[in-house]
């Protein structure tokens, strides 16, 4: 089952959680400092408008995989004060081919992940408490799934559909408190991963990012220092944790089966892309010089799509065996939209489809932006799919 299909099953448990959660109050034209503590206010082109509480309802029918129009997207943008300092973030949310993108003001310590099943997981911390909310993009409603004193730095949907996985820090010392699983049924969270031990190779941890393997069975916890990264991989069925701390393996891009796809040891792009077999430890090259890259699962199997430094203006598609499958043109001004942690943005794409966008992030207009079917290179400019 694909990750996206699993996410579609999020409906019932999330909606159940929504029923017990603190719901979002009616809109107020809040100042930016309100930032999703208490009532949430969204802002549309016409001005502030309400982000209503989600109401329990039967699980909506899953969208057909091939449907792109209406797919949710988001991006996080900084909000600066008069002196140019970061004063918060602005979450911009929309749907492909649909008008009416809206914004939510967030604090400095905030994040978003997804979209999955048309929903975006939004975290926000006000310095005293962290709040997790699920936004249903299509319904323009939000459900608070957690609010408490723990500092939740990152969180992603659990593809099982029954919970959230979150990374926590100690609020005062910012020490790593590990990765936790939070069921949506209100039961207590449990720790999945211990805090990362100090590591001289990566130094102080700048960023910890969570993602799932393509089959949703393994959690990838990426920890990056100022320059280098390591990855811990938790097998949810066995509970076994594997740490990939290898100078040949840099920032993780994706995990398919036992193959961890990552940039090589270089701390900048272009960089080689490698695949490490988690069973054998063997590392092999998939691409010599890549820019932005993403792992996708297609009907023909898993592939890596990357900006090809050697064939400028092109994307290259290779299988996990390193076999070159095809080259796709990359129009001037467009770049591949990578995974959400790198893009600070996300689009819920049908399987086998990649997104290209100016600045490699979806924007309010989604123009210029292009969606490309990996299998045949067919392109569908977003502007042409507006309904």
């Amino acid at each position: 089952m694909s990750l996206r299909r699993r996410i579609d099953t999020l409906g019932p448990p999330l909606l159940a959680a929504a029923a017990i959660a603190v719901l979002v109050a009616p809109a107020i034209a809040g100042s930016p400092r309100a930032r999703m503590h208490g009532p949430a206010t969204i802002r549309a082109a016409s001005g502030p408008m309400a982000l209503s509480a989600c109401r329990p309802e039967p699980r909506p029918a899953a969208r057909a995989e091939a449907v792109l129009v209406g797919a949710a997207w988001y991006r996080l943008d900084p909000v600066l004060d008069d002196a140019g300092g970061l004063d918060g973030q602005r979450l911009v949310v929309g749907r492909v081919g649909r008008r009416g993108a809206f914004e939510l003001p967030l604090g400095v310590e905030s994040f978003a992940s997804g979209p999955a099943g048309g929903r975006i997981l939004v975290g926000n911390d006000n310095g005293r408490r962290s709040t997790l909310r699920i936004l249903d993009v299509g319904k323009r409603c939000a459900s608070v799934v957690h609010e408490g004193p723990d500092l939740i730095r990152r969180a992603v949907f659990d593809p099982s559909g029954y919970g959230i996985v979150e990374f926590r820090l100690d609020r005062s010392s910012r020490a790593d408190l590990g990765v936790w699983s939070r069921p949506l049924d209100g039961t207590n969270p449990r720790r999945l991963l211990e805090p990362l031990a100090p590591n001289s190779r990566i130094g102080s941890v700048f960023a910890t990012e969570l993602s799932w393997s393509a089959d949703g069975q393994r959690l990838v916890v990426k920890s990056c220092g100022e320059t280098f990264c390591l990855a811990r991989i938790l097998d949810r069925s066995s509970g076994r944790v594997m740490t990939v701390d290898d100078h040949r393996v840099g920032e993780a891009i994706g995990l398919v089966g036992d193959e961890l796809v990552a940039y090589g040891g270089c701390p900048w792009l272009p960089c080689e892309i490698v695949a490490m077999n988690l069973k054998t430890g063997r590392v092999r090259d998939l691409a010599p010089m890549a820019g932005l890259a993403a792992v996708h699962v297609t009907d023909a199997g898993a592939v890596v799509v990357f900006e090809d430094f050697e064939l400028r203006g092109s994307l290259r598609v290779v299988g996990l065996d390193g076999m070159a499958l095809r080259t796709l043109p990359l129009e001037t001004g467009l770049r591949l939209v990578p995974a959400s942690d790198r893009a600070l943005a996300g689009i819920e794409l049908p399987a086998g489809v990649i997104a290209l966008a100016a600045g490699s992030r979806p924007s309010r207009s989604l123009v210029p932006a292009t969606f490309v079917n990996i299998a045949d290179g067919r392109r569908v400019p977003a502007a042409e799919v507006v309904r």
Partner: protein, 357 residues
């Protein structure tokens, strides 16, 4: 990471090779910085940058970035390009979250489009990392410990633009100050937090990649370049009283690993002329050879020997640069008879100064 130029296969091949070298960590600690993976800009080029529209850094950051560009120009000690602000510059410096920086790092550089243009991006003041918030010293109303110096970090990023990878330090980082381009930046007040000129191991790699400005400039002490000294005589069979002109030529050794420095002429250093009796072991210094105007890296002296000697040139290792000593192959100048009576003693005639004995 971001911008990048028209593809050139040859350049990419070179880059790929350097990347391969780097990725297997062949770089020895305290050696010149490793290369970065994108193509080089042209030597002596002027890389003009502008502030990216919509992502313009705050004024104090802009001032610090411009200062860093001047720092770079003043300290590259090579033919590395000059970086300078110009409102219409092809390259950009930006401020804010940017995808090409990835999830970590204080700032990032992108030379994908070298040799056309580059991008540098700085995280926002107050960006939240796992370890805490990023504060740029220049943007603080009261500078606090733990802040990062924009000028220093910009110098690091410009170093990347120019082709430098992160310096490989000793395990105890005792050589940290030998490079600005570092894997781990230092916050105030740790030593090096506000270094405002390239360190000797940054300079060493810039010299290797872009060449020296001229043959008289000093090679970084982070280098350890072999030199080759050749010595020629105007005549190797003379009569007493005749004058022989010895010409020494000093070059950096012709080694592929020396990149653009290979076979460079080495001027305005100290080269001495030595002699010994055939069959003896020790050498005696006859004179320092003055620089010649014949060509770069040449030194010349006139000598009137009265006895047959073996002669060689000796290039003394300079105390303040990364060149090794070298000596020429010895050869004999045979002296016979006298052209006049009484036979003159050995004499040295300098073309520029009185020679040392």
């Amino acid at each position: 990471m971001t911008t990048r130029v028209a593809f050139r296969r040859a350049a990419a091949a070179i880059v790929a090779a350097s990347l391969a070298l780097q990725s297997v960590s062949l770089v020895v600690a305290h050696s010149p910085d490793p290369p970065i993976s994108w193509p080089l800009f042209e030597a002596d080029d002027v890389l003009q940058f502008r502030w990216k529209e919509g992502e313009v850094p705050p004024l104090k950051m802009r001032d610090a970035v411009v200062a860093a560009a001047a720092d770079a120009a003043a300290s590259v000690a090579s033919r590395a390009p000059t970086i300078a602000y110009a409102s219409g510059g092809a390259s950009t410096v930006e401020y804010g979250p940017n995808v090409f920086c990835g999830v970590n790092g204080l700032a990032c550089a992108d030379g994908w489009h070298a040799p056309d243009h580059f991008h540098v991006a700085f995280r926002t003041h107050g960006h939240q990392f796992d370890w805490g918030r990023l504060w740029w010293c220049q943007l603080q109303s009261t500078i606090t410990n733990g802040c990062y110096d924009v000028e220093n970090v910009a110098l690091d990023e410009f170093g990347h633009v120019l082709g430098l990878g992160h310096h490989v330090n000793y395990g105890d980082e005792s050589d940290y100050l030998d490079a600005v381009v570092q894997t781990f930046s230092r916050a105030r007040p740790k030593a090096g937090w506000n270094a405002d000129k390239y360190g000797r191991c940054d300079v060493a790699k810039l010299q290797l990649r872009y060449d020296m400005v001229n043959s008289a400039r000093k090679y970084s002490t982070c280098l350890d370049l072999a030199t080759a000294l050749s010595l020629a005589a105007s005549d190797t069979s003379i009569r007493i009283g005749d004058t022989v002109t010895f010409t020494a030529t000093v070059k950096v050794a012709d080694s592929a690993g020396y990149e653009r420095l290979r076979a460079n002429a080495v001027s305005e250093r100290k080269v001495v002329l030595e002699r010994r009796l055939p069959g003896s072991v020790s050498w005696t210094t006859v004179a320092t050879m003055p620089a010649s105007t014949l060509a770069s890296g040449t030194y010349q002296i006139n000598v009137s020997p009265t006895v047959s000697y073996e002669w060689r040139g000796y290039f003394l290792k300079p105390a303040d640069e990364g060149l090794r000593a070298s000596s020429s192959a010895p050869f004999v100048v045979t002296v016979s008879g006298c052209a006049s009576q009484p036979c003159p003693q050995i004499s040295v005639e300098s073309t520029q100064q009185e020679a040392e004995r």
